[in-house]
Amino acid sequence: MEAKDKIIERILLLIAFSSISILGLIALFIFGEGLPLIWKVGPRAFILGERWVPSQGSFGILPMIVGSFWVTFGAILLGVPLGLACAIFLSEWTPPLIAMVLRPTIQLLAAIPSVIYGFWGLIILVPLVRNYLGGPGLSILSGSVILGFMILPTIISISEDSLRALPPYYKSGALALGATHWQAIWRVMVPAARSGIVASIILGMGRAIGETMAMIMILGNAVKMPTSFLDSARTLTTNIGIEMGYASGDHRQALFATGVILFLIIMILNSSAIALSRRRRS
């Protein structure tokens, strides 16, 4: 019996390492495919190069990096105020009936496939932007709006959790000192839940940078440095998504190299979000 239990414990330990081994394998194979090309082109030329013409062997991904940051920035601009407001609404102001609608709505926002968002953006949002604001419509603005809604569930659920996790005397103390409900929320509770809220924003950024299919359908995919929110753009993810289907040789390796940069950005964002929520826990 003892011996059997020991063996089972070993097996479970092995299983428990599966997620970290998968992470390791992902890093190994993506870096293995991508790094040789970054080495060949030169890290500087690869990251800071502005020309992406695979047929001529020029691989510079700066426009995609900039594109990714523009869309993510736009998404945060819309998603953070909206998400924080919904989180406050759900944790502090919930009239039961609306909460009964809002909660499943947010779950659905998380569950709807990204291709549906992309399609809706393409059919509804892109023509609106083209007709009323000009430009091609397939633009950073359209992409940001869609992404802003896509990252809402991440921002809302984690912010709401951290607001709810506050000890009740934060709020009652503020109210007892004569603060209005809103002052208690805005001056005491939100600052106290700061690290959780920031973590939710960082995770939201990670989701925004990582989104692929919806962005392929909405951004227009032009490889050039964006200069306005109405410009079409290409992100790191869409660069991979569009060209992976037909790329070979150096071109394919360059797409993996794009993946290397994306992976690094995501890992930095993730680790800082994890570090922040650890601090909250302790």
Binding site: D5, I15, F17, S19, I30, G32, A85, P104, P113
Partner: protein, 280 residues
Amino acid sequence: MISNRTRYLTQNVAKVLIWTAALLTIGVMMLILFQVLAEGLPVLHPRFFLDSPKNMGREGGILSTIVGTFALTLVAIVFAAPLGVGTAIFLREYTRETRISRIIRFGTDCLAGVPSIIFGLFGFVFFVIFLNMGWSILSGGLTLAAMILPTIISTAEEAIKTIPYTYREVSFSLGGTRWQTVTRTILPSAIPGIFTGIILSVGRSIGETAAVILTAGSSLVMPTSLFSPIRTMSVHFYILAREGISMEMAYGTGAALILLVLIVNTAANWLLNRYIRHRV
């Protein structure tokens, strides 16, 4: 010193803004659902589900993509569920907060944040090429399994966490070993919670496109084995819409996709509610 009037004015303005945000979120969600369902539901005759796509998807139905979606999801769950539940059991029942458990948690959290296109690249170079499985149900399913693993781990952990400590004490006091305690006491009570996590992962697998298109291909032929390439509903929808093959068929597929996700989500919610009520 802020006067009382200003304080309450600020509060009311804030209230209005927050209400607006909540209603806007609900409104946009409704708009998306309404747009796709209004155009898509009329396409959903029974024949649409029973015919396979013909002429690149311009005619016929979506049967082969439904089969593809289910096959892929099934493979993903079969691989990810034991690994995920095993990890959760280890983290909750076999170790306290140690360095090992911290490393495992960090790995799981990081994996949860990896974008799907990265999983796609990985699945392509590892399963499709390195392990020579080609574009197939197996490659796609294994890639999805890696992707949904963090969800299954965290929901299973939550489910195990809610089980009162007395359950374990009773089991140990009756002479049960750790493993007996897990299999006879912990798992039976945690099953509904674990199942909720699995259903949520099914939802994610159904909607995934980027990782699937790179690992399972986009063939419209009805699959015959685990090594057949397939096209899932999401990939089909994407190709129909992006290449402008047929808007009518795209709307139909989109509506079917939304209905499926709605059903899966409602099931997960129902289970979770029942489970919580049962426990408290």
